[in-house]
């Protein structure tokens, strides 16, 4: 049992590095973002290994959920051509006023 823990730590560390490399270097952005979500979830496991359950909760919710959702939504808006509704908000006269 005492050998299993360092092996597990080494596997987790290598998985983190490999996932991060594949996430930033993959030619398809969608795959990169999905790998980044997986990276966040493995990171939550690493936080548990480092005796930080509070951080693991926050990372699983934010790193594994919110950041990925933000990135995917932005990717969808970028690829649908120019972010409809974000860039031209100020110039449209059809936009009602906002306080």
């Amino acid at each position: 049992m005492s050998l299993l823990q360092p092996v597990f730590d080494i596997v987790l560390g290598l998985a983190l590095l490999w996932l991060a490399w594949r996430a930033v270097a993959s030619p398809d952005l969608f795959r990169g973002i999905v790998l980044f979500i997986a990276f966040g979830l493995v990171m939550a496991l690493v936080w548990v290994r480092l005796d930080a359950p509070d951080i693991a909760l926050a990372e699983a919710a934010i790193g594994g959920g919110l950041t990925g959702a933000l990135l995917l939504a932005t990717l969808a808006r970028l690829e649908s051509g120019g972010g409809a509704g974000t860039g031209r908000g100020k110039d449209r006269e059809s936009e009602p006023n906002d306080e």
Partner: protein, 102 residues
């Protein structure tokens, strides 16, 4: 080498991996991904250094810093993504222009 040092080295590796990707890629979304990887590397170094307490409970002050750091990082990412969308709306491309090397 104990657990804390191993994860601290992994965190340093993540930081420089993200820094390389930040400098090399031109697409804004990739840069934002790279910055997030760098941030995760920094958090990993912080918490790994906080786990050096031996048999006792880990040092909770870096834990608190990293929790607030994660939330601030996601809000900064959201602002950066809104800026990237605005850059594309204004210039038509979501990439920084390549500068010609001398």
């Amino acid at each position: 080498m104990n657990t804390a040092l191993l994860y601290a080295l992994v965190g340093a590796g993540l930081f420089f991996l993200g820094l390389y990707a930040l400098i090399v890629h031109a697409h804004l979304l990739r840069k934002i991904l790279a910055i997030n990887v760098m941030g995760s590397g920094v958090f990993l170094v912080l918490v790994a250094l906080a786990a050096r307490t031996g048999e006792a409970a880990p040092d909770p002050v870096p834990h608190a810093m990293v929790i607030t750091g994660i939330v601030v990082a996601v809000s900064a990412t959201a602002l950066a993504l809104a800026l990237a969308l605005r850059v594309q709306a204004e210039t038509g491309r979501a990439e920084l222009p390549e500068e010609p090397l001398e």
